[in-house]
């Protein structure tokens, strides 16, 4: 009779090694460079192309221009100028590439240009670009692209905002509108998570695909919920990461989770789903694809969170389900995607409303519901 040798006790698993640092960037701690206090809750934020100015918008219909030039001690005082021009909220901000013009598009359907960086900015040009809200704006050379709740895309020309062309692009509210990084295409996304790619020259529809995870029709409430709330192109320009809310179980209470979906817009392929490890209830309001090889995602709901994912997606492939097994989630099985977890997570002080990255990738700004914008130094 042989006796089995007792198995040695398993040693406790060592904690996972700290994430490999991304060269030149410290994401383990968020270094705050400035705290900019506004009286009214903030809605959106964008750096000017030269990162000298941060533009925010607020619930009292005003726009703020914050001077981020450091003083002789290297501190940012953040001098603010309030700007009035819209009769409603504004969440769409862009700039002319020459750093000369600030462009804002509001829920009043107005498209405005402002001189950037002057002491007392006043709107220079104003056009009624859409009927209803404008949520998407982008500028390329002298062309200003907007997308509105009327489902239309429109192009106006700088400096006088002369109408160039407009067309019915979606059958529901447009949430995002951007030129592709190479300038050859226009991308638009809507409430139902549909992304459309248009030829910039001809305006012809080239491709259409769905980021289905970011939309749901809630039959209980009789309403659509979701949409692409923010997006950002990959450094090589071929992919785009979209965020919003997913897993919605109660639309009107906002019970759902933020999700960041990476798609190759040149093919329509969904490449990855980036999901926080810890369940967080809320909506993804900001996403920035950093050229150093990571994606930052910010969300608001039950407080605020910031996550970072590496962009070298080693996407684990879900095994093929047995043929007899009933399909529980056709969308995920079709794509065979497992959500990818972040390598850094930061709990933020307040509910996030928006996030932006400076063009050089060194500064990050987050706009909060409490009326504060914080600027962080990443590099």
């Amino acid at each position: 009779m042989t006796q089995e040798k007792p198995k040695p006790k398993e040693a406790p698993k060592p904690p996972p090694p700290p994430p490999e640092p991304i060269a030149g960037y410290n994401l383990a701690t968020l270094k705050q460079a400035a705290e900019l206090k506004n009286g009214s809750p903030l809605l959106a934020c964008r750096f000017s192309p030269d990162a000298r100015w941060l533009i925010t918008t607020a619930q009292d219909n005003t726009i703020q221009q914050w001077d981020l030039a450091p003083d002789k001690d290297g501190k940012i005082a953040g001098k603010k100028v309030d700007m009035a021009g819209h009769a409603s909220w504004t969440r769409a901000i862009s700039f002319s590439a020459d750093n000369k013009w600030l462009i804002t598009a509001g829920y009043d359907g107005l498209l405005l240009t402002w001189p950037l960086g002057v002491a007392h900015p006043e709107p220079v040009r104003q056009v009624q670009a859409h009927t209803g809200w404008i949520r998407g704006v982008d500028c390329q050379a002298n062309q200003v692209l907007t997308g509105g709740n009327d489902g239309r895309l429109a192009i106006h020309l700088l400096p006088d905002l002369r109408p160039s062309r407009a067309w019915q692009a979606h059958d529901c509210h447009i949430y995002q509108a951007s030129f592709s990084p190479d300038g050859k295409f226009i991308l638009s996304a809507d409430l139902k998570g549909r992304v459309k790619v248009w030829d910039q020259q001809s305006g012809a529809l080239v491709r259409e695909f769905a980021v289905a995870a970011l939309h749901k029709y809630d039959a209980g409430f009789g309403a659509d919920i979701g949409g692409v709330r923010a997006w950002s192109f990959s450094p090589d320009g071929s992919s785009i990461v979209c965020t919003g809310i997913t897993n919605v179980s109660n639309a009107f209470a906002g019970v759902g989770n933020p999700l960041y979906v990476v798609a190759n817009w040149t093919t329509g392929e969904i490449r990855a789903e980036l999901k926080p490890k810890e369940a967080f209830q809320g909506t993804g309001w900001g996403v920035c694809w950093h050229r150093a090889g990571f994606i930052l995602g910010a969300a608001g709901g039950n407080g605020g969170m910031l996550w970072a994912w590496r962009d070298d997606f080693k996407v684990p492939v879900k095994p093929e389900p047995a043929k007899t097994e009933p399909k529980k989630d056709a969308r995920k099985e079709e794509k065979k995607l497992e959500p990818i977890a972040e390598f850094v997570a930061h709990k933020l002080a307040d509910n996030v409303r928006d996030m932006c990255l400076s063009a050089n990738g060194k500064k990050l700004a987050i706009a909060y519901q409490g009326g504060i914008a914080r600027v962080h130094t990443l590099a």
Partner: protein
């Protein structure tokens, strides 16, 4: 002289209010000593008055509808637009309704002091807060009892609901009796089994048998339930002859297009057909407005679906000469908080909200009540559910000061602390 007490087998106070006693205390100059024959013919029924209740389920935002505060910190992103009623501005989300405001009135000083969905709904339907000792009838049941003709083949209180569900809810009628409870019209479809059986002779024989059994049973043991049971069968028989009312295909395509082909549009068309066909009370609901999250996005979606069908319905009623005899109300459980929460939502707010009225007995283009600049409180002419209920009755020609007699116990028809809102009455 006291009205005759019903001879029901059980002595429950809920069943001892008979129809004659009700008519004896209501209807303006109708005296309690009036003969039984004339009591059966409801004078209000002869005037063909009707009620249309539009219930915006979940608690619609007053700031995004009837009482916008553009520019205020609580105002949200929407602007106010002028309307066809001089001096009256409403939210830009209601452009079609704005063109009908000369036919509508606004009560902007509603404070129902109840932020719970169920309790708020109770106040709006009955004009009273819930009481442990007594259930009060819904406005629909009151209309079914006092506005409808006794011989009307259409149930007195029709509740067109989105989605599924069906049947009737006798509890809505409280002590008025189950006959006046609501009948649910599920998703605007004709009630099940409304088609007549193929063989009329067999059908007649079946009903003769049922009636004979009912008479035998009722002779020995009569109750409100058994009476209602018999009446319901007879009413169902009559309703079967009115099944064409539920067929919307006979409507001109252009008109149904104006109403919209979505559920609420269809339900508005059906409401008009039912009212035109003689229904005394029709309730339609639009869901949902309980926007704790993304209040503004959802109000764009929902009100875009509400606005045009509702405005078309008002215009259609007017064009057909029905609006002057149809009391219209647009109500909800409560309003929504002026404060915008961290998720762009608004929560429940019953302290200062608004109701829209129109049609029969209402002065079009009028408004009453005022909230402060932030919309947080009523600063002028505050009213509650009792005032609204009294206004409805007054507009219909009923006397809100009258009483029900339940087991000899006088019950005011309307919360005595409420009185008609004269400013909006014609």
């Amino acid at each position: 002289m006291r009205p005759e007490i019903a001879r029901y087998a059980c002595n429950s106070p809920e069943h001892t209010l008979n129809r004659r006693s009700m008519l004896g205390v209501l209807g303006g100059g109708l005296a309690t000593a009036t003969s039984a024959g004339s009591l059966l013919a409801n004078p209000l029924a002869r005037q063909h008055k009707r009620v249309l209740m539009v219930f915006l389920s979940g608690g619609v935002s007053q700031l995004e509808t009837w009482d916008p505060k553009p520019g205020a910190p609580t105002g949200g992103p929407f602007r106010a637009i002028p309307t066809s009623a001089p001096g009256v501005h409403i939210c830009e989300l209601l452009p079609y309704t704005a063109s009908q405001m000369h036919r509508l009135a606004l009560v902007r000083g509603v404070n129902t002091a109840e932020d719970d969905h169920g309790k708020g709904s109770h106040i709006i339907h009955t004009g009273r807060r819930q009481e442990p000792s007594l259930e009060y009838p819904h406005l629909g049941s009151v209309a079914a009892k006092f506005v409808a003709d006794a011989d009307n083949p259409i149930p007195g209180y029709l509740n067109v609901v989105p989605g599924g569900g069906g049947g009737s809810n006798a509890a809505d009628a409280a002590f008025l009796g189950p006959r006046y409870g609501s009948v649910t019209i599920s998703d605007g479809r004709a009630p099940a089994n409304i088609d007549r059986p193929v063989d009329p002779l067999r059908e007649q024989q079946r009903h003769d048998l049922r009636r004979a059994a009912d008479q035998r049973f009722m002779a020995r043991r009569k109750s409100a339930q058994t009476e209602a049971y018999t009446q319901t069968y007879d009413q169902a028989l009559q309703l079967m002859q009115k099944k064409a009312l539920f067929d919307l295909t006979s409507e001109p395509a252009k008109l149904t297009e104006s109403y919209g082909t979505h559920d609420f549009g269809r339900h508005c068309v059906l409401a008009r057909r039912l009212l035109e066909g003689g229904a005394p009370f029709v309730k339609i609901s639009h869901t949902n407005y309980d926007t704790h999250h993304e209040n503004f996005d959802f109000h764009i979606e929902q009100l875009a679906e509400f606005d045009k069908p509702f405005a078309t319905l008002i215009e259609d009623l007017h064009q057909r000469g029905l609006l002057s005899t149809t009391l219209v109300m647009v109500v909800s459980e409560f309003g929504r908080t002026p404060n915008i929460n961290r998720n762009y939502g608004r929560d429940h707010w019953s302290k200062a909200w608004s109701v829209a009225l129109g049609g029969c007995g209402i002065r079009g283009g009028s408004f009453c009540g005022k909230t402060n600049a932030q919309g947080t409180e009523v600063v002028d002419r505050q009213v509650h559910g009792g005032h609204l209920f009294a206004t409805y009755l007054k507009a219909l020609g009923l006397d809100p000061a009258k009483k029900y007699y339940v087991d000899q116990r006088p019950i005011p028809m309307v919360d005595p602390t409420g009185s008609p809102i004269g400013e909006v009455l014609s």
